[in-house]
């Protein structure tokens, strides 16, 4: 520190004491647990991409002192939870990131493209700016029953990405085929299936997310929904962890767990041998966030002829595909995409197929593989693999 230098306007930060209080409240005290050890920054995947890595520690420190960091780095975070997994004090870093993002909404300093995302949920009931009247188009010629609590065991919750994204629609169709094969009595809310609001939560607009939760909770209650099977781990995560557990009457389960149960209950069996060498990508919101590591693997291993080889970075250390934390709606520069590294790690296993259980992972990983010339590795969601063996 050069004491003889007269500070210029740029060096002067306005400290906002109330910022600290707000953060304390928003994170329910977590932010004060951080003692600035820096392990979070060390394990953050952004460190892999050289340049300006996301310094989680610095973000938190600025906030602790009361300086609102207007840094665009705040929006780089994919909320993969790698930091949470290693934090010695058990700080929920994703919660702090969301809180900081909420403060950015209040200050009108959010990343471009995000207000449009929220408006899209508001006007179109999905974050993809797709027409709400076309939410059922993924069904094509299939028959998908409308949910009736008196006749259906579960509600199948498709989610916005699998409803509208052409690649992800195939996951939904595969799952429907599995349910038909297993004679599962399931129903779907159709065109009126509400957006779960995960993207609003990810980008930190907590009040809007709260409103979505209230509306959806009422809708589910009115429709008599209890057991919900989701396609996306993101929808699963919000239903499980961010929707009020009112008498625990909504029981969300990810489809891989449900399919595992179908197999163990003898309702689903395989008649075809699939001679594939596969590796598996743990989606962050299934694995690290909700500890569902085994169910997808059990399903994969139940398929005759499959050889499952794990990547070196696996389980708690699995690399994020880069899609979480709202980043599916933000541009990530070429050369900085997590999925590019992840597919390299997958290729190292010499597997011919990369299996995952999340629409974001499927889309990001497939995109990355496409840019590798003459690469034969395929990406399949667990449901798509299962359908091949029926």
């Amino acid at each position: 520190m050069n004491l003889s230098k007269i500070p210029s306007q740029d060096d002067i930060y306005i400290v906002d004491d109330s910022l600290w209080d707000q953060l304390q409240e928003l994170t329910e005290g977590d932010v004060s647990s951080c003692y600035q050890c820096g392990v979070c920054t060390a394990v953050c995947p952004w460190g892999l991409f050289g340049g300006e890595s996301l310094s989680v520690r610095a973000l938190i420190r600025s906030a602790q002192i009361g300086i609102q960091d207007q840094n665009e780095n705040l929006w780089l975070c994919t909320t993969c939870g790698q930091c949470n997994a290693y934090c010695p004090r058990g700080v929920d870093v994703a919660k702090i990131i969301r809180a900081l993002r909420l403060l950015a909404w209040d200050a009108h300093t959010v990343q471009a493209g995000l207000p449009s995302l929220l408006w899209s949920i508001y006007w179109n009931n999905n974050p993809w700016s797709q027409p709400p009247s076309q939410r059922e188009n993924w069904i094509g010629s299939q028959h998908v029953p409308l949910f009736d609590p008196d006749h259906h065991e579960i509600l199948l919750y498709i989610g916005c990405t699998s409803s509208y994204d052409r690649r992800a629609q195939k996951i939904a169709l595969a799952l429907v085929e599995i349910f038909h094969e297993s004679a599962v009595k399931y129903g779907y809310l159709g065109e009126n299936e509400p957006c779960c609001g995960e993207s609003a939560l990810s980008v930190g607009h907590l009040p809007y997310f709260h409103e979505i939760v209230l509306n959806n909770t009422k809708l589910f209650r009115d429709r008599g929904v209890r057991d919900v099977v989701t396609v996306s781990p993101h929808c699963y995560d919000v239903f499980k962890n961010h929707y009020p557990a009112v008498d625990g009457w909504i029981k969300p389960i990810h489809y891989t767990e449900y399919v595992e149960k179908l197999i163990s209950d003898g309702r689903l069996s395989f008649s075809t041998t699939i001679g594939k060498r596969v590796t598996y990508q743990d989606p962050c919101y299934l694995g690290r966030h909700n500890k569902v590591y085994d169910a997808p693997r059990t399903v994969i291993n139940a398929i005759p002829g499959i050889e499952l080889i794990e990547m070196t970075e696996v389980g708690i250390d699995g690399l994020c595909c880069g899609g979480g934390g709202g980043r599916m709606w933000l541009e990530t520069k070429a050369g900085e995409r997590f999925s590019d590294s992840r597919v390299q790690q997958a290729l190292e296993t010499n597997a011919d197929t990369l299996i995952t259980a999340c629409p974001f992972c499927v889309v990001c990983l497939e995109d990355s593989l496409k840019s590798i010339p003459e690469c034969e590795m395929q990406v399949l969601d667990v449901a798509e693999l299962v359908v091949k063996a029926l």
Binding site: H108, P115, S133, Q134
Partner: protein
């Protein structure tokens, strides 16, 4: 001089992809069709709100339509506006742009003291783009259209706007009062301010005026005020394409494409 008084004209439109034409009656079928704020009007709202941020202003919304428009207009209120004026009367229905601009002009006159009127470039349903210049003409005020950026000079009492035209742009200046149409997608509309939202949807102020409140001349509103009539209506047919896939290696594909191209041009 006091505070700047800005009004944004907002239209609530049906979602275009949901509109159908009844093949027998040849009328638009609006049943069950979802509505939204005309997307270009969202850009107009954002531009007006930016001026409010910068200069402080009273910012009202003016709309014309049935009471069912209310919840959507309240969303605009929650973005940061102060008041809604809704012109609602069966007599206004069936209006083409001449009658619409007349009615809106009467609304602006009744609000009174309006310095700047913002509008979206066009609406997603009719897409005529005629309302901004038409409204300016009725009010006998200047206009700036297709504006992507705007500045107010409070001393000179003028508005400067950047207007996008083919091959470039112009910077124009007009005196206040004036009407400004905002180019579609000129900015990213801010999301609702949730600290304002409860007020906007609950107690948020709205005034509803009918034809007699506005002192309009009956021949100038609704159907009587509309020179144009729709003589036929149909759903546009999507052109059928051949969808022929060309296979082969790059050279083979190139040869086939060249043949196709040479037969076309």
């Amino acid at each position: 001089m006091g505070e700047l008084h800005i009004v944004v004209c907002v239209k609530i439109v049906p979602k275009p992809e949901e509109i159908r034409v009844d093949p027998e009656t040849r009328l638009l079928n609006r049943e069950g069709v979802r509505s939204e704020i005309n997307p270009p009007d969202m850009n107009a709202l954002e531009m007006a709100l930016k001026l409010k941020d910068e200069f402080g202003a009273r910012l009202d919304i003016l709309s014309m339509g049935p009471p069912s428009f209310e919840p959507h207009l309240r969303a605009a209120l929650a973005m940061g506006c102060d008041h809604i004026y809704l012109l609602s009367d069966h007599a206004f229905a069936g209006a083409d742009t001449l009658a619409t601009t007349y009615t809106l002009a009467k609304g602006i006159e009744k609000i009174s003291g309006v310095d700047i009127v913002f509008l979206g470039e066009e609406s997603s349903d009719g897409a005529t783009g005629q309302v901004p210049p038409g409204l300016a003409e009725w009010l006998n005020i200047s206009q700036l259209t297709l504006i992507t950026d705007v500045n107010v000079d409070l001393n000179q009492w003028v508005v400067q706007g950047r207007r996008e035209i083919k091959g470039g742009y112009e910077i124009l200046e007009v005196p206040i009062p004036c009407a400004i149409s905002v180019k579609t997608a000129a900015n990213e509309p801010r999301f609702m301010d949730f600290s304002r939202k409860d007020w906007a949807f609950d107690k948020g102020s709205i005034t509803i005026w009918n034809a007699s409140d506005l002192c309009v001349e009956k021949e100038y509103i609704g159907l009587p005020g509309s020179p144009t009539i729709v003589s036929d209506l149909a759903e546009a047919s999507v052109r059928e394409r051949k969808n022929i896939f060309i296979k082969g290696d790059a050279d083979e594909i190139a040869r086939q494409l060249a043949n196709i191209i040479q037969s076309v041009i």
